[in-house]
Every structure is written in C-alpha cells, then in structure tokens.
C-alpha cells in the first residue's frame, strides 16, 4: 500500500505543473501519511481540481510498484532539565506510554532519551514532545536516523522513510545541496525533525533538516 502511495506521489508530481497551487502539493504529500489520510481527503473534497488529481493518484498507486523501502531506526529527543537521575522515572513512564515505540533509553549524562520505533507504526513526534512536557521537562530537538528514499515531489525535496509512513519535506541546507545530484537515491540519513508550527493545524508534513546523508549500502535497504 505504502509503496503504491509513494509511487502515486511520483505520479502526482507530473500533475503539479497543471495544478500549480502549493496548497495542493501539501495535500498530496500529506496523503502519504496514512493516519492523516482522511484529513487530506476533507480538504480535497472542496477543490474540484484536486478530485482529478486524487483519481490520478489512486490509478497510479495500483499501476506502479516500488522496490526500495527503508526505515527509521532511532528517534533521539534532547530533554532539557534532565539533570537529576531521581527525576527520570516520570520521563521513562510517559515515554513508555507512547504508541509505536519501545525500549526508551535515558542517558542522563547527555540529557537525551532514545526511542526505537516498533513494528509498522508511525512515530508521533507531537506525542513524544507532549510526553516530555507531561513528565516535567522541556523537549528540544528530535533527531531521527534511518534509511529513506529521496524524491522530488511537487518541486520540493522530500525523504520517504519506511514503507512511506514517514514522509519529510527536506529543509534546504548544505547537506541537501550536496545530494542534489543524488535525487531518488536511497540514503542513510540523520536529521532534525522540526516541531509543528503552532499556526499550522492542517499540514501533515514534517520538515527534516538533514545533519548527514550518505547513499545507503545494499544491505541497509530492505526489498
């Protein structure tokens, strides 16, 4: 399914010249995240041009097959205020309650907690931040590591990780610039996930700032 969706996104890319509107791009990209699919549909239903695009998307999803898949291997959250070991219990308790992650490792000396995504579930980065707040600490940057495919969708650089459930819009920086020629490459990446903007309750997209990205070795890419 996800491979199909990702392929469909590629198909939609072909339509962006026709659709023009940036809003539509966001909607298409948002479709790649299954939990927000219906939110995307809601916006789509109100725009006739988009209905055409969705039909195309569905058709493309059945027609195209992708070969490369990838995954997020770790999610590391910097937790400010994590200075007292006896305080860490509440952090561990709240982090453990987050669906889709397992085995949180709290490193007091570095002030970080590392999570491992489990199964085929999507990591809810908002839930991670909220868990840290509820535990009484201040969440800072979230760094994800994994393997993903870089693609250009709607004129925007994106990175699709593990079966398309995680899709990031890539922020322009030197690391990305260094990969310009490697678009559509599968890469091992490490990057910072930007928090959702307060005024943005519609977009399902996350912006990822690459800290590093290198072409993935064959063994790192699941077929």
């Amino acid at each position: 399914m996800t491979a199909s969706v990702r392929s469909a996104c590629w198909a939609i890319e072909q339509f962006t010249a026709y659709l023009h509107g940036v809003v539509f791009e966001d909607i298409f990209l948002g479709l790649a995240r299954s939990p927000d699919l219906f939110a995307g549909w809601k916006g789509i239903a109100m725009k006739s041009k988009t209905v055409v695009a969705v039909a195309t998307l569905l058709a493309a999803s059945f027609a195209m097959v992708s070969t490369a898949v990838a995954q997020i291997s770790t999610v590391t959250v910097r937790v400010d205020g994590l200075a007292c070991p006896f305080c860490a219990y509440s952090l561990e308790k709240h982090i453990k309650a987050i669906d889709g992650t397992k085995d949180p490792v709290i490193n007091i000396e570095q002030g970080i907690v590392t999570l491992t995504p489990v199964g085929d579930k999507t990591v809810d980065f908002d839930a991670v931040r909220e868990a840290v707040k509820q535990a009484g600490f201040t969440p800072r940057e979230i760094v994800v590591e994994g393997v993903g495919r870089m693609e250009t969708i709607g004129g925007r650089a994106t990175l699709i990780a593990e079966d398309g459930r995680e899709l990031f819009v890539l922020a322009a920086n030197d690391v990305l610039a260094g990969l310009e020629e490697g678009r559509r490459e599968v890469v091992t990446f490490r990057g910072t996930v930007a928090p959702r903007r307060k005024d943005d309750d519609r977009s399902t997209l996350r912006t990822l700032t690459l800290l590093s990205a290198t072409p993935a070795a064959k063994g790192e890419v699941k077929k």
């Binding site: 400010d80 200075a83 006896f86 860490a88 509440s90 490792v105 000396e109 535990a135 009484g136 600490f137």
Partner: protein, 300 residues
C-alpha cells in the same frame, strides 16, 4: 508535673511542631529542605522517616544553667508524607506524624505516644528554566496544619490550633551539584487561650553526587551527600493574653546527610542535625541534637 515543668514543656510542644513540618515536607533530594523539583520519586510517592530530637540542656537567654531537676526530653517522630502530582506543575499532599515523647527528670518520668497534627499542602511550580543537563525551578507552597493530635496535658501531641504556612522554595541542579533554598512563614492561631508565636524558617542545602562519577544510562544506584543549614525563629507565645517570656527563640542546625538511591523507586537517607545556634527566649530546654533516618518510595 510541677508548674515549672509545665512552663518549660508547653513551649516544647510548639517547638517540636516547628521542626516537624519543615522536615517532613521536604520532598526532594535534600533531607531537611524542600525542593521545587516535583518529579519522579518526589512526585507520586511515599516518604517516611524516624526523627529523634533530644533536648537536655536548660538554657537561660541562651546560656546553659544548672538544672536541679535534671530534665531531658526525647521525641521520636514518624511522619508519613504522601505527595501527589495533579499536573507536572501542581502537587498536593498530606503529612501525618506519629509521635512518642519521653520526659525524664528527678521528679519522675513520663511518656506519651499517638498521632500528632496532620498537615495538608499544595505546591505550585512557578518558574522552570531548563537547559541542557541543568534545571532551575521555583515553587510556592501553602499548607494548613489541622488539630488532629490530642492537645490535652503537658505532653500534648498537637497544638489544638489551625496553623497556616506559606513558603517559597528554589532549586538548581547541574551535573553532580544541587543547590536549594527555602523560606517558610507559619501563622499560628490560638486555641484554648494559647497562641503560639508565628514561625519563620529558612533552609539551604547543597548536594553532591558522590557516586557514580559518570551517570550514563538510567537507572543506576547513586550516593549523594548533603550539607544543610536549617533555621527557625519563633515568636513568643501568648497565654490568655499574657506573653510567655519563656517561649520562642531562634535555633540554627548544621545538618550533614547522606542518601542512597537504589533504583527507580526507592531511596534511603540519614541526617544528623547539630545546633550551631540555640537561643531560646527566657528559660527553656535547649536542643542537644536531632537525627533522622528515612526512606522514600515511588508508589504511583
């Protein structure tokens, strides 16, 4: 029980309760000082300890004088404190002490045990500045002491009055060090014509994680050392509108302590309190020393 004994011991009842709330409401790593960091084992737990206070020197205006009756008082306190975090920044709790008081003198010995006055409190975090491996927080707290202890007799277990406390506490932790400061003002109301003087308390603590030197993966056992200053200034009491000259005063303890955190859910701690300033007003028994041995358990 002679009139002199009653004059000496009635203020003692109050003085003990002046010591108790400060000690039993300390939810943080410091043993005798409160903390604004209401997390983990301080957030939803159980705390209890045995505190022993020994008073055996008769003082007049701060100077030791011979005591022909050779009086001494030993108080054993077993407070149970239950803090509960309603939210990450709001905590409520209750403290219920069990007391045993032993009085010895040439005129005879006396002893009494039972539950003392319970205290309920609410604590609110008002400042939180978090940085990497560092936190600074300030909380305010309001408390009410309820007259749940028996206030009859010279060896009363309670004061019989509703008393109200207001405090502010600040704490800073960075790496292996922690600094804490607390001020408390307690307004004592009257009961049966007795109005104990208001109390001002001030506590400071410095903590140091002795072991492990590097704390990497949570949880690890740790050994903490503390050095605290715990002071009380108490006003004179009124009895039926007449000020009691032999009541109130000032005391300052130097309190070294050690604490072992054994895991996620428990710690044990011990502290000795030595008075470096003991100036009770008029003629009263002075405090020789105090010591505590306690534990905290995370239950929720």
């Amino acid at each position: 029980m002679t009139i002199l004994q009653e004059r000496l011991l009635a203020p003692l009842v109050f003085c003990l309760f002046a010591i108790l709330p400060a000690a039993s409401s300390a939810q943080g790593p410091p043993i005798n000082t409160d903390t604004p960091i209401m997390l983990g084992i301080e957030g939803r737990g159980f705390r209890s300890f045995l505190k022993v206070v020994r008073m055996d020197e008769l003082l007049r205006d701060g100077d030791e004088i011979p005591d022909l009756m050779d009086r001494s008082v030993t108080v054993f306190m077993y407070p149970i404190a239950l803090p509960y975090n309603l939210t990450p920044t709001t905590q409520i709790g209750v403290i219920a002490p069990f007391l045993t008081k032993d009085v010895e003198s040439n005129a005879g010995d006396d002893s009494r045990s039972g539950f003392g006055d319970a205290t309920v409190f609410v604590k609110k975090l008002i400042v939180q500045v978090d940085r990497r491996l560092e936190t600074f927080r300030v909380a305010v707290k309001a408390s009410a002491k309820l007259p749940t202890g028996d206030d009859e007799g010279a060896l009363a277990l309670g004061t019989g009055s509703f008393d109200y406390g207001f405090s502010a506490v600040a704490g800073w932790i960075k790496a292996r060090w922690g600094l804490y400061g607390e001020t408390i003002y307690v307004i004592n109301t009257s009961d049966s014509g007795v109005d104990f003087g208001d109390r001002f308390s001030y506590n400071t603590a410095i903590g140091y994680r002795l072991l492990p030197k590097r704390y990497t993966r949570y949880p690890q056992p740790q050994l903490n050392l503390f050095l605290e200053l715990n002071g009380n200034v108490v006003g004179r009491s009124d009895i039926n509108g007449v000020e009691n000259p032999d009541s109130g005063g000032a005391i300052l303890f130097l309190s070294p302590g050690v604490q072992y955190v054994g895991g996620r859910r428990w710690l044990i701690e011990a502290s000795v309190q030595v008075p470096i300033l003991d100036e009770p007003n008029g003629t009263q028994l002075g405090t020789g020393w105090a010591a505590s041995l306690g534990t905290r358990l995370l239950v929720f």
